[in-house]
């Protein structure tokens, strides 16, 4: 895209979403779903996306009644070409929310869980499977232990094990790239509150090109081509962020063969819709596939990774980790149901005993989804130093990634969570 932008760094893709002027009816419906007010244009006129305010979440795309917004980045042909190249190991990194949505474009009922069929279809297409639930488990270990470190620092003055600073509380989750960009562009003072853990997609990419290349696929890192299979358009933006080239840096530092120009940890991102197009292009009918296993170490995962796609899932998984690390005992009941469900902001308090310090600690957590409707009061409280919470999970999309901007466009009505009241657009 050839345009002057103010909020993007070199290499980042500005504006994953644009509006087709010919299709736009100027009905204003999209503005009701945009979390950042990035859609401009008066009622009755062609609308446009202000890329500097846009966080690439794709909510306008899945909610426009006339199909006017579109993705500016379409890697389907590139991925197809890589799959056809026998010298390239194409790793498909499958996010949790994709497996319950990809059946739809193949005529299966909405919500069908098709993990086995998806493994089979993707293997037939030539992918090696890396289930992103595996990487979500890694994220949880990182994010959970980082939280414990921050909490112990805040409560007991504990210092960082290897020196360096420790971030403040509350800790925000960082696995939603739309939320991360929202903080960067709207509340930069809160950047230190974001968890320093990468998202599962980015951990998966780095692992595939380092450990995976050396120990699992036995190929050179630069011949690994990583493809995020995501329910999310913002993941396309995330993959383009220049800090996510850690496999290249690692390989170079270890003296391995690395090309002079850095390569990204994630080479391409296919949304659920993109994957359906790719499979159809390759004449693979996912619905007709038999269930298959993932077939690699990277397809193993726990239940914590699985629930990442829903609002509350990251928090629940992190709390389970924190519980085990802090108390040293496994959880008798493995579910924190207080953070489940579709309420805009959910909160819970968990009291546990930190065995290291021999003290009871009450951890207050909040889970926020649909940031357009719910996030401002929460961040204003944090900015004012009045937040009661220690750990806050934030997901941009209403309901979490399950309703992400890369999912099949639901034809049974666009506002499945709230927003069914009439809007009388005017200006």
């Amino acid at each position: 895209m050839n345009q002057e932008t103010k909020t993007y760094r070199k290499g980042e893709i500005p504006g994953i979403i644009a509006i087709n002027a010919r299709e736009c009816k100027g009905c204003d419906a999209c503005k009701r779903f945009c979390p950042t007010g990035a859609i401009t244009g008066m009622f009755g006129t062609t609308h446009r996306v202000d890329v500097d305010r846009c966080i690439s979440c794709g909510q306008c795309l899945i909610n426009c009644p006339f199909g006017a917004p579109y993705e500016t980045v379409d890697p389907v042909d590139e991925v197809a070409a890589k799959l056809a190249d026998k010298h390239v190991t194409v790793v498909g990194i499958i996010a949790p929310a994709v497996r319950v949505a990809i059946g739809e474009p193949f005529g299966m009922p909405a919500g069908s869980l098709v993990t086995g069929k998806m493994y089979s279809a993707m293997k037939k297409a030539g992918f090696v499977i890396l289930d992103n639930n595996f990487a979500a488990d890694l994220t949880i270990m990182e994010e959970g232990t980082e939280f414990i470190q921050r909490a112990r620092h805040a409560l007991f003055g504990e210092k960082a094990e290897h020196g360096g600073g420790i971030g403040p509380l509350p800790q925000f989750t960082s696995c939603c790239p739309a939320w991360v960009r929202f903080v960067e562009t709207n509340y930069p003072a809160l950047i230190p509150n974001l968890s320093s853990a990468k998202s599962p997609q980015q951990m998966a990419g780095a692992v595939a090109k380092t450990y995976g290349a050396a120990q699992v696929f036995n190929v050179a890192p630069e011949s690994v081509y990583t493809v995020g299979i995501m329910p999310c358009t913002a993941k396309k933006f995330e993959a383009s962020r220049p800090e996510f080239q850690s496999a290249w840096h690692f390989t170079k530092e270890k003296g391995g063969s690395a090309p002079s120009a850095p390569y990204p940890d994630i080479d391409a991102v296919l949304t659920t819709r993109d994957l359906a197009r790719l499979l159809k292009k390759m004449k693979i009918n996912l619905a007709a596939e038999n269930d298959a296993e993932g077939g690699t170490l990277f397809a193993e995962y726990t239940g914590a990774g699985t629930i990442f796609g829903n609002t509350g899932g990251v928090m629940e998984a992190a709390l389970r980790t924190a519980w085990v690390v802090l108390t040293g005992t496994p959880l008798s009941k493995i579910e924190f149901t207080a953070v489940r469900g579709l309420k805009g902001v959910k909160s819970a308090a968990v009291t546990l005993r930190d065995r290291k310090y021999g003290k009871e600690v009450t951890v207050k957590v909040a889970v926020v989804h649909d940031i357009r409707a719910n996030i401002r009061p929460i961040v204003e409280e944090v900015m004012a130093g009045r937040s009661p919470y220690h750990f806050i999970e934030v997901m941009n999309c209403p309901g979490g990634c399950i309703n992400g901007g890369g999912q099949p466009v639901c034809d049974t009505g666009s506002s499945w969570i709230g927003r069914v009241l009439p809007s009388f657009a005017w200006s």
Binding site: T45, F66, G67
Partner: protein, 215 residues
């Protein structure tokens, strides 16, 4: 009846309904065309859309008020427009004799008609069906575009578009013939009355079967 007799063809409530219908529909047609062809700069387009919405609300209120306050008229109008006979086909065969009269200055035999001739009946049906579709689809597109299924939204958009094109095209014919039939035009916009001879010539079945002398 004498030569100077007049017949009340359009009672006051019909005329008021028609004033508002004409004003709102013409406004909707003009602004709709501007919006469809994206003819103006952004603020002017927004104003056109606002005017379109206001005119749509007026049209809806007008239709609802007429439906509830003049239900007998609605029933009568519906009955008349949906009642057909062989004469209607014959009327269409000569197009009511209008092209011959207007273009060739010739008078041809026209089958006898009731209050509405076959062309007016067809226009009436379009107004009833098309108008209802336009009002309903317009409200969904304005107030609930985010809450209807995507397939339905684009279908509703198409219905709104095609129904409005049909009615706009008919409107030209309606306007032209309305002005051509000046007595009827005056009746609708002034006092509701047309001369007896005019009615007897253009709507003989109506005069014969439906009318009775008052006083």
């Amino acid at each position: 009846m004498t030569e100077s007799s007049f017949i009340l063809k359009h009672p006051l409530r019909v005329r008021v309904f028609h004033y508002l219908l004409a004003a709102s529909f013409l406004t909707l047609a003009v602004t709709g065309i501007m919006l469809y062809f994206k003819l103006l700069a952004e603020p002017a387009m927004n104003t056109a859309m606002q005017v379109h919405v206001v005119a749509g609300v007026v049209l809806t209120m007008d239709a609802l008020a007429f439906f509830f306050l003049a239900f007998d008229r609605v029933v009568l109008f519906t009955k008349r427009t949906f009642t057909f006979s062989g004469n209607d086909i014959k009327w269409f065969a000569v197009l009511g004799g209008y092209p011959q009269k207007i273009l060739l200055h010739k008078k041809v035999d026209v089958p006898p008609m009731g209050k509405y001739n076959a062309g007016q009946k067809l226009f009436g049906i379009c107004v009833l069906v098309g108008g209802t579709l336009l009002i309903l689809s317009g409200w969904v597109l304005w107030a609930l575009p985010h809450a209807v299924p995507h397939g339905a939204a684009s279908m509703i958009g198409s219905i709104h578009l095609y129904a409005s094109w049909v009615l706009i095209l008919f409107l030209f014919v309606h306007l032209f013939l309305g002005i051509y039939m000046w007595d009827d035009f005056k009746a609708m916009f002034v006092d509701g009355r047309i001369p007896y001879e005019d009615a007897a010539e253009k709507a003989p079945l109506w005069v014969k079967n439906d009318l009775r002398r008052l006083g």
